[in-house]
Subunit: 356 residues, 2 copies
């Protein structure tokens, strides 16, 4: 298969962030280079790069790009002032995926450790290394999620997924799709049903493309067909990613996930969510506090090249919904499977108490 | 509001069937004239006219158009041969909506009553009158459904609907939308959520348009948002039409209806189905025997004016699903409300036993 590199740093300290423009897939394979923080912000906002883990990585590199304007300055206060400015700005790009905030916080903490000890240029170099470390860790994390989750999928089964959670949503390999990839690599034959995922069709454009590249049997359906596909007995498991998971297991994910979870429950089909530890927000008691991004009505009314609704129609376009923990059979993290999905089990898996 | 005439007969016996080309709405208002039976077949197949009742009316007029080639012939056998040919042909246009078969059967029965008693020209005139009667009856039926159903919708409530079930799906006024129109006309303030209804976007293109024409508050959502909109407490009732209802109340309707019914059940929101008696197929014990039309994959992969999925992707595109009777709170027919939805209650309402 074609080696997909969702995003990567090009060059040395004065380099740039190069990424696949995912809005152009699958018909065009175009890479763009972000040479200032505004370009990174725009790429995240416009979903040129999307998927919670990939957004986190892009944000980390975005900090590096943003600091290039001050990396040769001698004034520490100027440097840290710019760091705050850049991280605050990137934080406004998309509100729901917590990986964005997690990555920005990690970059700030790393920088803070060296304040007063290293020069701005040295700290800038440390931050680029940190962004690369976040990127590299994500590769390992995705493989681990795949390995842990693969055992949940039976040979010969039908698996339904929503949105895109593959290599394109992460450093590579994916979250929910990693589980499918790992099961397929272990020799299991799977039939995947991919929801097209309106309004932006990440399932139709990206998930089918990734699965076809890997030779995995995939059938595209409209989102509204999922319940019927379950009713017909075509699906034995549903697996999605997540953009933010609260301490009790409530999971925000692409709009439509909640309805899928309800349908899965009605058919006694297990509903799995695969997400790295960086997607958990243990500061939130439950999903009620997760901010839900509202997006441009034009995504619904002018989806793909032409207007498909009357001028001036009112539109409601939430980008995410929240699936309550009780509907999630198992959470799949890089640290292992979390089931049953309880506050206690999440706490001990995601933030383990240091050994006594 | 603009007076919508979904379809109508133009001229005398040698006239034609004129209809709004609904595939062009809402951006273009174009009427087409069907001057041979092939044009009627194509219009039904391609959804230029759609909605179970409107398909039935189109089929009845289609018989009249098809008989124009023999209406001046003197040979009764030729005339009835052509009648069989035309009805058999029209029956192949779409398999799920039973109103199509109901209308064709009614036309054949009417003709049969006059076989040997009237000339082909006279029978052709009787059949055009019969088609106009079916058309006119549908207007009365829609008003009756609206009247019976309106009491189910509370003032100030949110109502979610799927596909298009308004004037465009019927002679005029509609089935499920008739209920909304009648409630609004009685002074109730409603907020309607209209599913866009992939793949052909009848909700986005047609339902929003009809509601806006009548000044009713409507908000367009993607199909995948419906469950979340319910969860947020925005919806107090769900109402759809149907394409075929079995004797036990199982109802085939536009793909996505079943998932909506599951979501409504999960939120204790009543799920209503509005359909005329001609949509009931009492010859089928349950929904398992309803044929489900499979449509062109291109509706999914090239839905919005450009390709949105990889070349060669496998697609599953059922046009309908079946909602089990147990999920339907009330059936709304022109003869009154049917609840609970049981075989007995349906039989007594739809096919009443002649008074002793």
């Amino acid at each position: 298969m074609k080696n997909i590199e969702t995003l990567h740093w090009v060059g040395k300290q004065d380099g740039c962030l190069r990424m696949i423009d995912q809005t152009r897939l699958p018909l065009e394979f175009v890479e763009i280079e972000c040479r200032d923080v505004e370009a990174v912000w725009e790429a995240v906002k416009m979903l040129r790069v999307r998927g919670a883990p990939a957004i986190g990585i892009a944000a980390a590199y975005g900090v590096c790009v943003g600091l290039q304007t001050v990396s040769n300055c001698q004034d520490e206060a100027d440097f840290f002032g710019r760091l705050d400015e850049v991280t605050d700005y990137l934080a406004t790009s998309r509100p729901t995926a917590v990986n964005l905030f997690w990555a920005l916080e990690r970059m700030k903490e790393t920088a803070g450790q060296f304040r007063g000890k290293k020069s701005p240029a040295e700290i800038a170099a440390i931050l680029l290394a940190e962004a690369k470390a976040i990127h590299q860790e994500d590769r390992r994390i995705c493989r681990a999620m795949g390995r842990h989750g693969a055992k949940l999928l039976a040979d010969g089964s039908g698996v339904l997924t929503h949105c895109n959670t593959g290599g394109l949503a992460t450093a590579d390999y994916g979250t929910a799709l990693a589980v499918i990839f790992a099961a397929a690599e272990s020799g299991k034959r799977l039939r995947v049903y991919a929801d097209e995922t309106r309004p932006l069709l990440q399932g139709a454009r990206l998930t089918t493309w990734e699965l076809m590249q890997r030779g995995i049997d995939v059938t595209l359906i409209c989102d509204s067909m999922a319940a019927w596909v379950m009713r017909e007995g075509r699906v034995q498991a549903v697996i999605t990613g997540a953009d933010r998971i609260a301490a009790n297991g409530d999971a925000a994910n692409k709009i439509g996930t909640y309805g899928l979870a309800l349908s899965a429950a009605a058919h006694d089909i297990p509903f799995y969510v695969a997400a790295p530890a960086s997607t958990f927000d243990l500061s939130l008691a439950d999903g009620g506090a997760i901010p839900i991004e509202q997006r441009d009505p034009a995504e619904v009314t002018h989806g793909f090249g032409r207007q498909t609704a009357p001028d001036g129609v009112e539109v409601y376009n939430p980008a995410f919904d929240v699936t309550p923990a009780r509907l999630i059979h198992t959470l799949i993290s890089e640290h292992g499977l979390i089931r049953p999905v309880t506050r206690e089990k999440i706490a001990e898996t995601i933030a383990p108490t240091p050994a006594a």
